[in-house]
């Protein structure tokens, strides 16, 4: 048996040793190696130093710089008070149950609106909740529940007074609205207003100059604040749009993944690869690109249930004639295309 550790194996053995997961025999091997010469000892001491220093750095992971900056920013902007996200998050379990709620309405809302959109509302009575790196849940004064997607913001009153229940949304959110026909529930996003009489639905804002309302079940009205005559009624399976603050139109919803941010499930049925990488990019928040236009001939049929992206990419390589390249943070799909 050789006493010297093989160049290719000793690094893993040292990791095991540092992790205190070595067997008695392995311990003896490491100690033997350490005592062999001073260079080995010095090498090990450096690793041990990094090993311990790294666990001290753990503290930093408890600090969410981005979200804390938002809190400071709102305070120096003298904007409405911010509710702590951690408090709101504790209500998250409510939303797992919402999955089974029959009436689900979803719509996507534009981000062109300038923040804050508080016209006619008394800012002092408003609360702002901002979800940055994670989804966030909140229960409104009337018992209606909202799940905010990341990078989204909701402004709502502490109490609903007046003839309507009005909130303002920037980003994407899922709503479960308590029925109250005498007090319609309104979501304002720029000039777009989505009106709900009482049901649950999901809202997504993020497409420039466009409001998208996709209905699963239930019924909502979409209209322009400035033109309340032309209200577009949207029912299950349909998607309403308000483009450039003026054009109202309706089409069949063919996006299987518009709720994936909430469910964690991505579904593809004979889906063109372009749409696949678009959905994956959005869902995992990582840039995916086609390395060659020949790949546009490929389609995918698959379902990914809360799988890590690495996993999904492995599966893609199995079912499609493609290779995955990583360039910095960018993920590039290459290949000669499908027949």
């Amino acid at each position: 048996m050789s006493n010297s550790l093989n160049e290719y194996t000793d690094q893993e053995l040292l990791v095991r040793y540092l992790s205190k997961e070595t067997s008695a025999l392995e311990n003896r091997r490491v100690e033997h190696w350490l005592n062999a010469n001073d260079r080995n000892k010095e090498e090990f001491n450096k690793l041990k130093l990094l090993w311990e220093a790294s666990s001290h750095a753990k503290e930093a992971s408890l600090i969410d710089v981005k979200s804390d900056w938002q809190k400071v920013k709102l305070r120096i902007d003298d904007e409405p008070k911010v509710r702590s996200l951690s408090a709101a998050k504790q209500q998250g379990s409510v939303f797992t149950r919402l999955m089974r709620v029959a009436a689900v309405i979803t719509f996507l809302v534009v981000a062109y609106l300038t923040w804050p959109v508080l016209s006619g509302l008394n800012p002092a009575e408003m609360t702002t909740i901002t979800a940055l790196s994670d989804t966030s849940a909140v229960v409104l004064a009337d018992g209606s529940k909202v799940l905010l997607n990341k990078n989204s913001r909701l402004v709502y009153p502490e109490k609903f007074s007046g003839n309507t229940r009005t909130v303002t949304l920037e980003g994407e959110a899922f709503f479960d609205v308590v029925k109250d026909p005498s007090k319609p529930f309104l979501i304002k996003s720029g000039r777009a207003i989505t009106e709900v009489v009482g049901t649950s639905f999901s809202v997504n804002a993020g497409i420039k100059n466009k409001v998208l309302v996709t209905v699963v079940t239930g019924k909502v009205l979409l209209y322009n604040e400035m033109n309340q005559e032309g209200k577009l009624a949207i029912v299950p399976g349909e998607q309403g749009q308000l483009k450039n603050e003026s054009q109202l139109l309706k089409k069949v919803n063919d996006d299987l993944n518009f709720l994936s941010w909430k469910t964690g499930v991505l579904t593809f049925q004979n889906t063109p690869i372009n749409k696949v990488i678009k959905d994956l990019s959005t869902h995992y928040d990582r840039p995916l690109k086609l390395g060659s236009s020949a790949l546009k001939t490929c389609t995918l049929t698959a379902t990914f249930d809360k799988q890590p992206l690495e996993n999904v990419l492995d599966e893609l390589q199995l079912v499609l004639p493609i290779q995955i390249l990583m360039q910095d943070k960018k993920i590039i799909l290459t290949g000669t295309g499908c027949q």
Partner: protein, 186 residues
Amino acid sequence: MSDQSLANRIKSGDKSAFEELFNSHYQMLCIYAKKVIGDMDQSRDIVQNVFVTLYNNRASLNIKSPVKNYLYRSVYNACLNYLEQVKVHSKHHSYIASYHSESDSRDMIVQAELEGEVWNEIQKLPDQCRIIFQMNRFEGRKNKEIATTLGISIRTVETQISKALKILRKNLSHLMPALLLLTSAA
């Protein structure tokens, strides 16, 4: 961009300069405050207050002395203030307050900055490498557990961790002797 030219821009109400200052010091100030008062959530509140105060008082900001010194001093004072307030409720906290001397405080600043540096370097590791390394070092998970969770072999976990150590050793070489301050402090 140096802190001093940032201070100049902040003085004239430039919020992007203020954001830059926040981003470059916030984390380390929080780590430092946590060392003084022993509670991270409170520390974050304290440091946020210091930044808000700094912005509100930006007109009187002295651009000749380093902003960083001002920040650490303000956080330290705010921490002592906090400890005074809770002293009534807890003997433990008053113990911490009297235990920390000026020189302890200086050591804690150095430690906070080192921890921040190490954390920054860990964040720059390749994704898989970083996730595995953090699961071991931050969450204290066994390598076998990590392998099961991620659906990979134990061997891969060990290889990725050794890769992480190799990269960190290279990128933190300039801090190597200083890191002893962290491990001896515990």
